[in-house]
């Protein structure tokens, strides 16, 4: 019980229905042919189906071929059409004389492809893509329609970093600056927009920090 032995094995046992079990002995050539089949049941089934369809022409009822010597011959001859015959391969030893000094290509020196994803998202599990609309961060290089990569694993942006913030039930994307008197401000990167104080009563949190900006180069 403890080592999970015993009990019912699904799919085991005699299949339901009015099937009958046949066993037969296969001689040398037939046995080798059968052994070379990846799926013997399928092979025998096909061979029989083929022989039954041939008999159907003579309007005889379907029956099993007798398990005698002639039957073996018939099965083998029916089951191996020319197209199925496998080619014979012989080992061929190649010895070539190399002139000059060989320069081996060391595996260590083979160049590695640059994995751009690894550069952009060092932690894929904490990186999120966000599309931005608006021009309040245009001087920070974020234009309308750009996609930014945001890392959630850090929530303590420096004054130079750009953070995705949640302020009173809305997401925004700004720098966060702290005054001498401790007041925090949301600072846009566009002189046309004012900075925004974060008051004590505000529901404010940092969602993540922008690590890269995906910006399509335009002409």
């Amino acid at each position: 019980m403890r080592d999970a032995r015993g009990g019912a094995r699904p799919g085991a046992g005699r299949p339901k229905g009015d099937s009958r079990l046949y066993t037969f002995r296969a001689g040398g050539e037939l046995a080798r042919e059968l052994d070379s089949c990846p799926n013997r049941t399928e092979f025998i089934r096909r061979s029989l189906a083929q022989s039954l369809t041939q008999r159907a022409g003579t309007a005889q009822p379907a029956q099993l071929p007798p398990p005698a010597q002639p039957a073996q011959d018939r099965i083998v001859s029916l089951a191996t059409p020319a197209s199925k015959a496998r080619g014979l391969t012989l080992p061929y030893f190649e010895q070539r004389v190399v002139a000059g000094f060989p320069i081996p290509l060391d595996n260590d020196e083979r160049s590695q492809d640059i994995d751009i994803l690894r550069l952009l998202c060092p932690h894929p599990e904490s990186s999120y893509l966000i599309r931005v609309h608006g021009d309040s961060m245009i001087d920070a290089g974020i234009e309308s329609g750009d996609i930014v990569i945001v890392d959630k694993s850090r929530r303590d942006p420096s004054e130079k970093e750009i953070a995705v913030c949640e302020l009173n039930g809305e997401y925004t994307l700004k720098r966060i600056a702290v005054d001498k008197d401790g007041t925090r401000w949301l600072v846009p990167a566009n002189p046309d927009y004012p900075r925004f104080p974060i008051n004590d009563g505000d529901a404010f949190s940092v969602w993540g920090i922008v690590t890269y900006i995906i910006h399509k180069a335009r002409d």
Binding site: R2, P10, G11, S19, S126, L129, H133, T172, K174
Partner: protein
């Protein structure tokens, strides 16, 4: 030692990540077709909502408390789930994903180098930071006890996300304070049986002698008993080899024509076949069921189910759908407005070691298996339903599920990215 990492109100938590202003607010997620509540935050529970409530019955509560409602978005939840498991795998090398919101982690060996409770607390904190999804962790000598521990960690904030059951005293205390139906492996039937035998808490069950358990229960019951007594014996794979696979839907609008139902049933059957192949199994029995709308008492009521056994267990989409469609034509009756249909596969066994039938009516099984594999690969590479059965296609719009509050595919589609106005 085992750890169970369980995401708290997972679906609702996923939605909260991408919707601002929901912190501390009641949020619930509806089933496919927006019928019932399938997941909700503690805040939503506090205003009187429950898992399984029909949405039309609790509309007043939802409006009065301003509960935010989402339709199920499995694409988003699956992507978030992968992130959570990914972070866990970064910290523990042996992780078994048990369901979309639960994973088991094998901590054996880690106790030599770490304080397991603090270690898992660090993992839980990282998951919360990286994904904004709160998790509860149970740490215990067996999976069943670990699962029980995670329930305590979820219920009492004092545990700070991790509840470790590592002493006999803690084990007895945990079993005494739990309900029978909190125990992994004890379903409704087993619980009823235990109650009728006079066992009221998991502790009373665990304290029964082994012969008593053997006499009253079969192997799974005995395994649960052993696990509750601290002896690890259940494997996740064993639990995951599902006994039946079912896909069913209630329709957005009621359907009466056979042709439209066929489309739905074929689609359910091929979805079942996909799940079956994904777990490397075959099924020997295909059942199909249909039903009218039980809430419309003014209409004629009808429900029926038809099961067909396959000569050779199979996981072939074509064969399983044909069997399901054949069953449907047996039970379909004209003049009924159908609200619901589904396909169930049963007698599931591993795909290796299938008993073959010499006079199988399906020819070219190896080629058919290759066809199914190719379909799976195409759909994996180019998106779901790139290749599907013709019978599924045309009528799909008729029975398409209703999902009015579905959020975007924030993690899986460039067109669906979260958009922020700045």
């Amino acid at each position: 030692m085992w750890a169970l990492v369980d995401c708290n109100s997972f679906f609702a938590s996923c939605e909260k990540v991408f919707h601002p202003g929901l912190q501390g607010r009641p949020v619930c997620v509806l089933s496919s077709n927006d019928g019932i509540i399938v997941a909700l935050t503690p805040e939503a529970k506090a205003v009187g909502l429950h898992r399984g409530d029909a949405i039309f019955k609790v509309r007043d509560i939802i409006e009065h408390y301003g509960v935010t409602v989402f339709s199920t978005n499995m694409t988003l939840y699956a992507a978030m789930s992968d992130r959570v498991t990914g972070i866990l795998r970064g910290s523990v090398s042996r992780v078994e994903k048990y369901s979309i919101d639960e994973s088991f982690a094998d901590l054996s060996g880690y106790e030599r180098h770490y304080d397991l409770e603090e270690y898992m607390r660090g993992v839980a904190e990282r998951i919360r930071l990286w994904t904004d999804i709160p998790v509860s962790v149970g740490v215990a000598p067996t999976r069943t006890l670990a699962k029980l521990g995670s329930k305590f960690a979820k219920k009492y904030p004092g545990y700070r996300s991790v509840c470790m059951i590592d002493s006999e005293q803690k084990r007895r205390k945990a079993l005494e304070l739990s309900d029978l139906d909190d125990v992994w492996g004890l379903g409704r039937r087993s619980c009823g049986k235990l109650l009728s035998l006079g066992v009221r808490t998991p502790l009373e069950f665990a304290d029964k002698p082994q012969w008593w358990v053997r006499r009253n229960f079969t192997k799974p019951g005995l395994q649960t008993w052993m696990e509750l007594n601290g002896e690890s014996c259940i494997s996740t794979e064993e639990q995951l080899q599902r006994q039946t696979i079912c896909t069913s839907r209630s329709f957005g609008e009621m359907i009466s024509e056979l042709e439209a139902l066929k489309g739905a049933v074929a689609s359910f059957a091929s979805s079942c076949a996909n799940k079956l192949r994904a777990q490397g199994s075959v099924a020997a029995c295909v059942s199909v069921f249909v039903g009218s709308n039980p809430f419309r008492e003014d209409l004629p009521q009808y429900r029926n189910v038809y099961s067909r056994c396959l000569p050779v267990p199979s996981c072939d989409t074509l064969e399983l759908s044909c069997a399901a469609l054949d069953g449907l034509s047996q039970i379909w009756r004209p003049g009924i407005l159908y609200k619901r249909a589904g396909v169930i596969l049963s007698y599931i066994s591993p795909a290796e070691g299938v008993q073959q039938d010499l006079f199988d009516t399906v020819c070219r099984r190896p080629e058919r298996a290759a066809l199914s594999r190719t379909m799976d690969e195409l759909n994996r590479r180019y998106g779901l339903k790139t290749v599907s059965l013709a019978v599924e296609g045309e009528q799909r719009c008729r029975w398409k599920v209703k999902s009015e509050h579905r959020s975007g595919d924030y993690l899986t589609s460039l067109d669906g990215l979260l958009t922020v106005e700045i």
